[in-house]
Amino acid sequence: MTLQQPALTATAALARPARRKGKGRRDRGRLFQEIGMLAPAVALLTVFLIVPFLLSFWTAMTNQPLVPRPTPVRFIGLINFLRIFRDDLFWTSLWNVSRFTFWILPVQCGLAFATALLLHQKLPLRNFFRGLFFLPAITSMVVVCVIWGTLFQYPTGPLNQVIGFLSGGLIQPIDWLGDPNWAMFSIVLLSAWQAYGFQMIVYLAGLQGIPDELYDAAKIDGANAFQRFWHVTMPGLRPTHVFVLVITTIQAFKLYTQVAILTQGGPKSSTETVVHYMVRAGFEEQKLGLASAVSVILFLIVLVIALLQRQLLRRFDV
């Protein structure tokens, strides 16, 4: 696909003068058609993306309630932000998503990478397994919560049974979702189970993108398997690594559904997340201004991560 592009632009340059002839009414008709075709998308994006986005900055600086009240909405400057920064629960939620990221990166990305390496070999039934491992990725998070809600049952749920069996009864049953020390890690487990297949196929695509000639050349130069992995595979996968790490981190900051369904941020706020904090501010406390301030902070965090990704990719020269 990308190979074709230079050729295309060349023919485009050649063909250009021919089009200049029919000016006037036809060109105007064409322009109207183009505007007409672009208009629905532009209108929808403006109303449902740009306007609410800009509004969020404004609402964040007001005392906008969820339900309209007779008293007018007041501009209160940065008070919402100050309130958030003074709230321990907000910092707890940031700390929790950081912990989530810290665990999910090795568990999910590491496993996805390892599986991709395994499946990249010419194993029998390779495509079958690839299709199989991708199944959770198309499973809705709500369904994943139903499944893992039963797996996590305390004290006799399947997970505890398996661990008890494998450890010969040495490890006591774990209260996966009820123990503040374990709750976030349990959320990590089910999230990794769900999204792991997606990252695996991203890694597989990355591996397939590395030309075989590079491996052949390395072999001729006498590189052993480990050296080939370290000096050919790893550099070739840099953009993939950056993508996977960035997307996982961004998703971690947006963590909501599984926490809202399974733990509601508990026990003892150990699974409170930024988005859950935002929804609570908006809908339980009914302070949409405050919630909007959280959403602005969330946007800034995601923006910083995305910019970081661009910098990293540029540094790797891809």
């Binding site: 295309l8 058609q33 449902f48 395994l118 499973t139 499944i147 049952q153 909501y256």
Partner: protein, 297 residues
């Protein structure tokens, strides 16, 4: 790992050969272990949905009986699959299917038209609009929904189907994917049709759109999964059963003191079935769509 390798030491040549053999063995074993971890929870869900007794389901969970139904029954599905009443999961499923079809259908038209004009149009501001679309991609849904809730409730759109469809039809990612696909098609296609006097819309409709099956499939799949799995937005804007999607309905099982796992499992299977059927039919497309979204997005 090393245990297996050490057990076969004797001569230089056989050692190398058996090392490769045991590597294969380890690889195959790891694949099978992963397959077990991935598949057994899903299998457990399907098996449990065929069991009638919700206490038995939990009791069976700890053993191999979790994968076995002595007397399978569709009673749970009959119980939750109503079109009205308290357990109207049939209705919720239809709601979700309707929202899915409307969002994806409208999304394909709106986003592909925009992508086409951005790729082949003669509008002056195209480059600017394109870079704006790419920039908008950074904004997460989570950070616009608070003001959006105020907007839609002022417009009286709460608790409707429209509120779950219209806001998510146009999307920067899908406009960009279409743009990218159309831009790669040869210029001659456009030129020749234009010479014949076809209008821009005609060229899009009769020539470019029929050629864009891969892009249409990719966007349908990505958009479909995204719409199907929406959770945060519908819980904020739906209150009654009227337009409630199945994801929100399933989540309500968790609010109860004692969870009806049998019903939750059956409802979950109902929710999985449409996507699973599509996945089995178009697996290759699914995988390449997700790869495409990753590499391009």
């Amino acid at each position: 790992m090393s245990d297996l390798a050490i057990s076969t030491l004797p001569a230089e040549v056989t050692r190398k050969r058996s090392a490769i053999g045991s590597l294969r063995l380890i690889q195959t074993a790891s694949i099978l272990v992963i397959a077990l971890v991935i598949v057994s929870p899903l299998l457990m869900l399907i098996v449990a949905s065929l069991k009638d007794d919700r206490f038995q389901i939990l009791a069976d969970m700890g053993s191999f009986r979790a994968f076995w139904v002595p007397n399978p029954t569709l009673a749970n599905f009959a119980e939750v699959g109503n079109l009205s009443g308290e357990l109207a999961f049939g209705r919720y499923l239809l709601n979700s299917l309707f929202i899915l079809a409307a969002t994806v259908g409208a999304g394909l038209i709106v986003n592909s038209m925009a992508g086409f004009v951005l790729a082949w149009g003669s509008l002056r501001g195209r480059a600017l609009i394109l870079s704006l679309v790419i920039a908008l991609y950074v904004i997460p849904q989570e950070s616009i929904i608070m003001p959006l809730v105020i907007m839609v409730s002022r417009a009286g759109m709460t608790d409707t189907f429209a509120v779950q469809i219209v806001p998510w039809i146009a999307s920067p990612l899908y406009i960009f994917l279409f743009y990218q696909f159309f831009a790669q098609l040869p210029k001659e296609l456009f030129e020749a049709a234009e010479m014949d006097g076809a209008s821009v819309f005609r060229i899009y409709r009769s020539i470019f759109l029929p050629l864009s099956l891969p892009a249409l499939a990719t966007v349908s799949i990505l958009m479909g999964i995204e719409t199907w799995n929406q959770y945060l937005w519908p819980i904020l804007v739906t209150q009654t059963a009227y337009a409630r999607p199945i994801a929100v309905a399933i989540a309500t099982f968790f609010g109860q003191d004692s969870i009806y796992w049998d019903r939750a499992m059956a409802a979950s299977v109902l929710m999985m079935l449409p996507i699973l059927a599509l996945y089995l039919a178009f697996q290759r497309w699914f995988v390449s769509s997700f790869v495409g979204s990753a590499v391009k997005g």
